[in-house]
Amino acid sequence: MYDRIVITGIGLTAPNGNNLEEYRKSLIEGRSGVQNFNVRYMGDVLAGVCDFQATKHQSRKEIRRGTRAGSISIYCANEALNDSALAFETTDKSMVGVYLGITEHGNVETENEVYNISQYGYDVKYWTHHHNPRTVANNPAGEVTLNLGITGPHYTLGGACAAGNIGLIHGAQMLRMREVDVALAGGVSESIHTFGIFASFKSQGALATHDDPTKASRPFDKARNGIVVSEGGCIYVLERLDDALKRGAKIYGELAGYAIGSDAYDFVLPSPEGQARCMRLALKKAKIAPSDIDILSTHATATPMGDVQECKALKEVFGDSKGVYVNNTKSFIGHAMGAAGALELAGNIPSFKDSMVHPTINVDNLDEECNIMNLVLNKPLQVDNIQYILNNSFGMLGINSAVIIKKYDE
């Protein structure tokens, strides 16, 4: 019998909110966080940009020495711990683990340094000594341990755009293995500060364009034309239920099931079969039927093909069940890459309390191929009760993840 794992704290920064309350309000009120953003070599592109105050939890020197991913992680970790009301000063720091999902890390710093030495005739003696500590793959999680004095394990989990879910899943696994007593787990992304990600999506014909930045990210709409890349982060405080109850913690929800799988199909193209297999496995682990899910938080990124593929997978698993409300957070904030899974789940968690389902916005003309189940479009929906949320998060190289969170019943 596995330990029951619960969420007891949430810290986040999204392009439309720097804590859960602000973020949720934006999702209910239809507020986007997408804007014009200047990128080296490319000029203005559309991006989701965060405006959290880094100096709230870091000195200016820490910010200067570290990375943007580190700052996002430190902000989210501190906010999550504060939200959890855990007596952190008296917590055994060797039993706290930091597990952060990332899509990629180090491209920002590498691009900056290549540009830097280009100003000095490409003489590598001008290459910074900070490059290696900034670009090692554990950097975002490691900066959190330095900031908070955590001596337990820390590392990142490279899971492309499925990474946010994977960070959370891994944290739960480490709690169940008794490796740690508290897991700071989720996902982060600083990718908008690298031109390469925009240039690559553009070359692939998958970068969104629109005259109105707030309308650019439009999953399920007929006129969708690609991805809006965003930065952001979301870190959960996870604990074993017994520990949470012992300290009288506020409980946001319980991990009911999860799954991670691979398509083994293509570098870029998603596979409905692989996605369906992943959702079915998560449902099986949660010991529930597809019709038990109340909110299905989709991964859909607004690429013409990707959205249809996910909808095929959803039809395969859920049929035409009108009892499953389907929404999409990327329509508000764009694609927060390594943070996407964790952020998109967080935006739906308040539904356990208020029984509101936030919509997918920017759907002016629904693509009939995406007309599935009970889509909540353009305005929020008040329902009777939300018991289960399934959060999809998929990524390149065919990595699929699904997390099911259950309302916590005392």
Partner: protein
């Protein structure tokens, strides 16, 4: 540059590397390490900034010359007199 200009330049570099520190009361003869909270990576930043701003290369064997503000000024002044 005069010695006073060199002193200002060094302080300007340190201020950029240690932005949280108050450098107004710095003792020129005492080690910078404790006064400005500098570690080895910060000293490498000073070396890098001297290279970038003034094209001055400080060989590794001479890093100790940067231990205090006054020793830095004395060491750098001849190298910066034509700047």
């Amino acid at each position: 540059m005069t010695k006073e200009d060199v002193r200002k330049s060094v302080l300007d570099i340190i201020a950029s590397i240690a932005p949280d520190e108050d450098l107004s009361g710095i003792d020129g003869d005492a080690p910078l390490k404790e006064q400005a909270g500098l570690d080895s990576m910060d000293f490498l930043d000073i070396v890098m900034e001297l290279r970038k701003r003034y094209s001055i290369d400080v060989p590794e064997g001479e890093y100790m010359e940067l231990v205090s503000l006054n020793s830095s000024v004395n060491y750098l002044a001849p190298k910066m007199e034509n700047i």
